[in-house]
Amino acid sequence: MNAFRNKMLKALAAFAVSGLLINTAANAADPLKIGLLTPSPIADVGWSKALVDGVDAVKAKYGDDVEINVIENIQEGPDADRIMNKMVGDGNEFLVLGSFGFMNGGLKLAKRNAKRTFLHASGYKTAKNFSPFTAKYYEGAYLMGMAAAELTKTKKLGVVSAFAIPELISTINGFTLGARSIDPEITVDVIWINSWFDPAKAQDSAKALLAGGADILFSNAQDTPSVVTVGEEGGAYVFNLNGSMKAYAPTKYLGVVKTDWAPFFVASVDAHLAGNFEGQNQWLGMTDDVVVVEDWNSDISEDMMAKIEATQADIVSGAKHVYDGPLVNQAGETVIAAGERLEDGAILGMDWHVEGVNSPLPK
């Protein structure tokens, strides 16, 4: 009996040791550990998925030289700070923090860990090893606005939008400017739902916009396909940001303003490995291959597609900028005159709507 017990104990001990060995064996090869923290569940589509695709591209390039750790669905708050801390403690050298709410905690961590590199989504604070990154969604939204202008009958466009932060305000303004470049009678209504992920609220808001006469919907930074499905059911063309949701609106999908973080993430990891990473505000658009517009609806006429492609080429080449003057705000005041171009800082801190947006900004 004793012998049997000893045997069992030994087996157990061996099991325990092997478990620990597996854990340490990974450290032996010394790959670069990359940690990604996302605010919402990683679904087949949406913001978090786009981030995962980005780090997957890093994995594809570096193979076994990197190890990817993804922690999904973490609420912003003091617990997120601890989880980030733990990620650093577990040896992650390169961290991607996927939401603006991770900013203050992440920045503190970055200052304490000078050798590690941090990329932070949607924020505005920088440090030597801490780069906020944002997409110039407004470039893609401008093109969507052109297409919407051709397809709308009511000349009313509706936007369901997350938070009234400059990134999303400038996207709505870009959309409006694009639409009004084709048809100046078009107006845009916006509903702010103050959430990245609230399927019920997003759906209700989309329905309210349709009831108000809109026949084109824009799902602005919503990590659920709710608005897109409402569009398909209600017969309104609809588009969204970050990743294609065509599967949810097979006939009414206008297209997607996709973000492809792969080039940026890969370049940042390159820089980190080379030891010359420099924290700076990374504001990336079509020229950087980060903002990509695709999945165009076949209902858009060939003429319009040609126009859109020409505009896109001009934006990429720099011949045209979405925020070229003249720009007029909601109150009818001229912000900049013809021939001038809005400064980057003014776009990054945008807190006003262009003429044509009906809804006031939440104050």
Partner: protein
């Protein structure tokens, strides 16, 4: 066949101590099965939950960071539960406490007065009490069910928080992000150690616990409170007021939850933002019951739940467990604990329906 639970007249003290051990054993068994199905490392997961939280100093301080608010709120709630006042809205009382306390650094941004923090503590307590007073008033005046009222008030509190963050209290330099300014150092509890987030606010729950223990065990007022809840009419004959029990229970909970909310914003968070409670208001209900509504038991229960939550965060990162699996594991532990606890106090009796038919009446 029917099952009935009979209260045991004599129950074994040894079993009462064995209960938590059995609960842990049973839930570990079920978890092992779940982990095997999920194909996750079993030993590493248990290590993350029960050992890793104690492995380094930082992690231990984090346990106490969570322990504080859980202990504070649970002690106050338990007093109410013993008086049969079902306040499940500590979450909302916490939020209002945090809001009331934040008004000081929000309106006195440049102040470096030593009175900032004391003022915030007082306002936090008053805020929580005011919010709980609504439920107490409705209960005593109109006999409105306090379960519903306190729960609904939590939703209202959250909306008030969102309104303030998106509107009047928004950080003017914060690019419209829904958060206030970062508070000045004078508005924060001093840290106990360098590099850890644990701060002097931990003293409050400890002093509070001693006070509650003295009140409930040694003071006649505690007895009156319990009688008032258990048997309102008996209490009336004895000259105790059942209304008083409602008021004092709710105000006490509001006081504790308000200070807990204040300690979060003046502690690990350092500003008012959208998530301030980390769910402590709800977790504290579990703590109160896990601790058998006993001031000493609650100390252990709060510590246990804090370890579980820190362990869950570790498992997320180190054992690559999805966050939902972490919640399942935590839930299993609690369910098994409550189940075993029930069987220690109650005996299961199988009641067989009388199968023998009543003698037929012959006509």
């Amino acid at each position: 066949m029917q099952f009935k639970l009979d209260r045991r007249v004599h129950y074994s003290k040894a079993m009462l101590i064995a209960t938590p051990i059995m609960a842990v054993g049973l839930s570990m068994l079920v978890c092992t099965l779940l982990l095997l199905v999920l194909n996750k490392p079993v030993l590493l997961t248990f290590h993350s939950f029960f050992i890793a939280p104690f492995e380094n100093f930082y992690s231990i301080t984090e346990i106490f960071l969570k322990f504080g608010p859980l202990l504070l709120i649970a002690q106050a709630l338990a007093v109410g539960f013993r008086a049969k006042v079902w306040n499940i809205g500590a979450e909302g009382q916490m939020i209002i406490g945090a809001i009331a306390a934040s008004s000081v650094p929000v309106y006195f941004v440049d102040s470096t007065s030593a009175w900032l923090l004391p003022a915030m503590i007082v306002l936090g307590a008053l805020g929580g009490m005011a919010w709980a007073a609504i439920a107490a008033f409705l209960k005593t005046q109109f006999n409105a069910n306090e379960i519903l009222v306190t729960l609904m008030l939590s939703s209202i509190a959250l909306q008030i928080l969102y309104y303030l963050l998106l509107g009047p209290w928004k950080d003017p330099m914060g690019f419209n992000f829904p958060q206030t300014v970062m508070f000045q150092d004078e508005a924060l509890f001093p840290y106990l150690f360098d590099g850890a987030r644990i701060n002097t606010s931990i003293a409050i729950p400890i002093i509070f616990t001693i006070g509650i223990w003295l009140f409930m065990e040694k003071h006649f007022g505690g007895f009156r409170l319990i009688v008032g809840g258990l048997a309102p009419s008996a209490a009336t004959y004895a000259g105790f007021s059942s209304k008083k029990a409602v008021w004092s229970s709710l105000l006490l909970a509001g006081f504790a939850a308000g200070i807990a909310g204040m300690s979060e914003i003046a502690g690990p968070i350092g500003q008012l933002q959208r998530s301030v409670t980390s769910g402590y208001g709800y977790s504290a209900i579990i703590v109160a019951y896990l601790g058998a509504l006993n001031p000493i038991g609650i100390i252990f229960a709060a510590f246990f739940l804090a370890v579980l939550q820190i362990g869950g965060d570790v498992a997320l990162v180190s054992a690559d467990l999805p966050i939902s699996a972490v919640h399942v594991f935590q839930g299993l532990l609690l369910i098994f604990y409550l189940a075993t606890y029930t069987f220690v106090n109650y005996r299961l009796r199988v009641v067989r329906p009388i199968t023998q038919a009543t003698p037929k009446l012959t006509s």
